[in-house]
């Protein structure tokens, strides 16, 4: 949900820097798409998406994310939210009843799954990702995980945890939906490949252009186990008869010309510098705060002292023109964990980071003084 008034310091998580959106390259791809579209291309076509884009995505995801991808198992969607809804409805139609979701996670993910008729079971997350020991007790038919940079904790799923999760999928005959959130923004070393690459028959891969290019595009994609393709294609047909096709052809051209790779290279440099500046500023202005989740993505978590009131701090910060969020916004049981702020650097101007964090430190002091 967008802020109604632009804050002076914008540290909201999950907001990418769209000022760098490569308008010229995108327009070039749209021009190419409109110019070369046949009459058939301008019709309804396959609800699962246009063939050239599914091919380009399979290439890209195999190369960049280690996804075992095949155009025939790739479905183009209108973003992650729709992707999750389509898969949940297809799973429900096939008899699934319970789905585990990480806690904390985006409440919209839970609502989407519940709306599909699935019972949602929250499962804890620690620094290694989803707690598979908890998952084992759920008897869930499916699970949604964010191994690359779990939102909002920022945890990157460790190798051993991945193995445990895959073992659970096999032993319970379950399906995982891998929300490959923030995967393209891994800063300090090469990103870990997608979980899907290790078990393509049990993991649904879900990605989108919202964080890498712009939310306005509403472009997402799924790579599915073979037995889910028809059901998800049917759900997509019922949902909207397919995603806007000129944009699909444009995105296929954009990918094929290497424009996404180029854009991501530029953005990684930019975001890494911002992250470094943010982490330094946080350490300096509030040494008592523990900064985590820095390995990837567009935000870090800042764990406060146990007596801090994260809601009061967020409110105090808002009064001082600082937009940010707290972990409680995403917990199923607010107040159940250490008070933690989510500090995004996706769209902070570089020069605003130090003064913004200094001001945040003042807000924290003020909230503490009032408590």
């Amino acid at each position: 949900v967008p802020a109604t008034k632009a804050p002076r310091f914008d540290f909201r998580p999950a907001v990418p820097d769209v000022s760098m959106f490569p308008r010229r390259a995108w327009l070039r791809s749209v021009r190419q798409a409109i110019g070369s579209a046949t009459d058939a291309d301008l019709g309804y076509g396959d609800p699962r998406g246009v063939e050239t884009l599914r091919r380009a995505l399979a290439d890209y995801l195999g190369r960049v994310r280690g996804v075992v991808a095949d155009p025939a198992r790739t479905v183009v969607t209108s973003g992650y939210t729709q992707s999750e809804g389509l898969v949940c409805r297809a799973l429900a139609a096939a008899g699934a009843r319970r789905i585990a979701l990480e806690d904390p996670s985006d409440p919209e993910q839970r609502e989407t799954a519940a709306r599909a008729g699935l019972e949602v079971v929250p499962v804890g997350v620690d620094e290694g990702g989803i707690r598979v020991d908890e998952l084992e007790r759920t008897r869930a038919d499916a699970v949604v995980v964010g191994p690359a940079h779990q939102f909002p904790t920022g945890a990157v799923m460790a190798g051993e945890r991945r193995s445990e999760l895959l073992a659970w999928l096999r032993s319970s005959d379950a399906i995982a939906i891998e929300d490959d959130y923030d995967a393209e923004y891994r800063y300090d070393r090469a990103p870990v490949g997608a979980l899907q690459g290790l078990e393509p028959g049990r993991v649904v891969y879900a990605g989108s252009a919202s964080k890498t290019l712009a939310p306005a595009l509403r472009l997402g994609w799924l790579v599915l186990p073979a037995e889910l393709v028809d059901a998800v294609g049917h759900e997509k047909h019922l949902a909207d008869r397919g995603t806007a096709r000129i944009e699909q052809y444009a995105f296929a051209d954009f990918l094929a010309r290497g424009e996404l790779d180029r854009h991501l290279r530029r953005m990684r440099v930019r975001y890494r510098a911002r992250r470094d500046a943010l982490v330094d500023a946080l350490h300096e202005a509030m040494p008592e705060v523990e900064v985590e989740g820095i390995a990837a993505g567009l935000h870090v978590t800042a764990r406060l002292t146990d007596t801090d009131d994260e809601r009061a701090i967020v409110d105090e910060a808002a009064r001082r023109g600082i937009a940010l969020e707290s972990l409680d916004d995403y917990r199923t049981a607010p107040g159940s964990g250490s008070p933690t702020l989510l500090v995004g650097y996706g769209q902070s101007a570089d020069s605003a980071i130090r003064p913004g964090i200094a001001r945040l430190a003042e807000a924290i002091e003020a909230a503490r003084g009032r408590a």
Copy 2:
């Protein structure tokens, strides 16, 4: 569903002529949209759609269709299918249980409503539109109607029938979803205004660009009674967080520059000529057949003699390279009415109409000979 192989003569209904899609004007609008988009425009924004498009649509619909429109009650969607799903889910969430649908109608409309959790009650259609006397016995909470050119019968809802329908809406405290299908293609006189204009508090207006411009755009819109706006906006948010926004800005520009009006003026001339040629060819080649539903839209109905087998004729035609459909494809109880073919002229080349219909007459003769 697209034909896997292009037929030699394409008389499928509901298929517009996309060869006339105004590529240059559309590209110009996309260029304008990309060039002038602010950072906020490239974000998620309001799931109900971008303000400039909602304003442009309200203007257009008020002017061209007599819709009592207001940007605040207008929601941009990804086409009619999504529109119907959003409204049905919002109605179901508000306690609606039964929805009446015209019979015959597109089976997808019925599936969409059923998927939203509503019980679907079929109601007959005659030459004046939906049978309100039947509707009165359904105790439905809502109804889907196509007053401008009912699909597939081609009936245009008469004035008295409109009054009866509105009276039913009021007396049963029900909501109508007006599928303003083919409304922009009314040939012999000025189109009747939308039903919504007579009762904006009880009629949901649903339109799309699929038949007027191209299905590939996946652009649709709703004008809602005030009390449904928040619920439908919430459903849209859950469905996909909003329709692709660059396309929305482009369409707003396209509408504001009068490009849709210009395109429709061109297409009306073209389609009317094709319709006239088709009706003449049908009368000539098969004088025993009754041609109806000619006032509007992109297809006519051809009522066969009572002993004809419409399925056998469609199959025989397919073997001869002619694609068309029959009314039974859309009836809830196949075989329950007069055998009737649906003969579309949306994308027949002008020169193909006479030879195509001559060939269809041969197919009918062959099917009769075999019976």
